[in-house]
């Protein structure tokens, strides 16, 4: 890229971009490639769930086992956290660090609430005898939802690290590219949950 500053005294050198993808930075393209591969992993898990379920006439209706209203609230919280994430990015792009940190922390709080909700749900289900080895439905349910929960946990850590950096005046340069990449991961977590909620919890 010819416009990239060469001098070492440049305050905030613009990150490398990938011309094939317009002005997208290498970091953003890298994150997208990672997300696509991660989507394939989730796809494999959901496909295994679908195959096991398709071949089993005795598969219970998820709504009779799982708490739909409670999970709907968790879904709502994740959707709200996606909104707060884009508001954090918007604030960071306008170099409003204070506001960006607030929104990032609100997003992380949403993730923590979700994880607490998942722990509560697991505790309740295990108490009811819905344990990992008790059948294909619980086995696939726990593997898929805990894998997603692992992503939420990672996302919360990522958000907190980003918020810490922004609070110290970092990550606001280059159109808040770093915050945007953090957001890509968080929205992906939300996107996957949208599919998991439908396929595992709601489909009769």
């Amino acid at each position: 890229m010819s416009s990239r500053p060469e001098a070492s005294y440049a305050p905030a050198p613009a990150p490398l971009t990938v011309p094939t993808f317009g002005q997208a930075t290498t970091g953003k393209v890298g994150m997208w490639i990672f997300l696509v591969t991660d989507a394939m992993t989730f796809g494999g898990l959901l496909l295994a769930y679908g195959i096991l379920r398709a071949g089993n006439k005795q598969w219970p209706a998820p709504t009779t086992v799982l708490g739909i209203p409670f999970t709907a609230i968790m879904t709502f919280v994740l959707i709200v956290s996606s909104l707060t994430m884009v508001l954090a990015l918007d604030a960071a792009q306008h170099r409003n660090a204070k506001q960006a940190v607030r929104w990032l922390l609100a997003t992380a709080s949403g993730g923590i609430f979700f994880l607490c909700g998942q722990a509560y749900e697991y505790r309740h289900l295990i108490h009811e005898g819905f344990t990992l080895p008790s059948g294909n439905f619980p086995a696939t349910f726990y593997v898929i939802t805990s894998f997603h929960g692992g992503h939420v946990f990672t996302g919360v850590c990522y958000l907190l690290i980003t918020a810490f950096g922004v609070s110290r005046g970092k990550h606001l340069e280059n159109g808040a590219n770093f915050v945007e990449i953090t957001g890509l991961f968080w929205h992906f977590v939300d996107l996957i949950w949208i599919l998991v909620f439908t396929l595992v919890y709601l489909i009769p």
Binding site: I33, V86, L184
Partner: protein, 118 residues
């Protein structure tokens, strides 16, 4: 906030996504996602045919996922090649999934499918 859009100092990662009306878009998409989720949960409690219900729910879930990808993840504002990078593998995976699921139905439920029981 939208009036501040022009104050962004420099854009090296897709300046188009800092269009003035983004904040409004974000809220609009949030409400769409919320309403679609409520509709989905409501449908799950309805008494309609299971196949119809499943089809409606999958359509709603894919719409919601697309909204998140296009607006919150800014794919709508990126160069088309990045959109292809993100979406092209997914139909291929879907194609693979459909055939595996059809086989699963066929083998495990005894529903004849030509390429399984020729």
């Amino acid at each position: 906030m939208s009036e501040h859009a022009s104050s962004v100092p420099h854009a090296t990662d897709g300046g188009a996504h800092r269009a003035p009306d983004h904040r409004r878009d974000y809220f609009r998409i949030f409400w769409v996602l919320l309403v679609l989720t409520i509709v989905e949960v409501a449908v799950s409690y309805s008494k309609i045919d299971k196949r119809v219900m499943s089809a409606v729910m999958i359509a709603l879930a894919l719409s919601k996922a697309s909204f998140v990808g296009l607006y919150f993840m800014h794919l709508k504002y990126e160069k088309r090649s990045l959109l292809w990078l993100a979406f092209l593998p997914l139909p291929l995976a879907g194609f693979y999934a459909v055939f595996l699921l059809l086989d699963a139905f066929s083998l495990l439920r005894g529903v004849p499918v030509p390429w399984v029981h020729p």
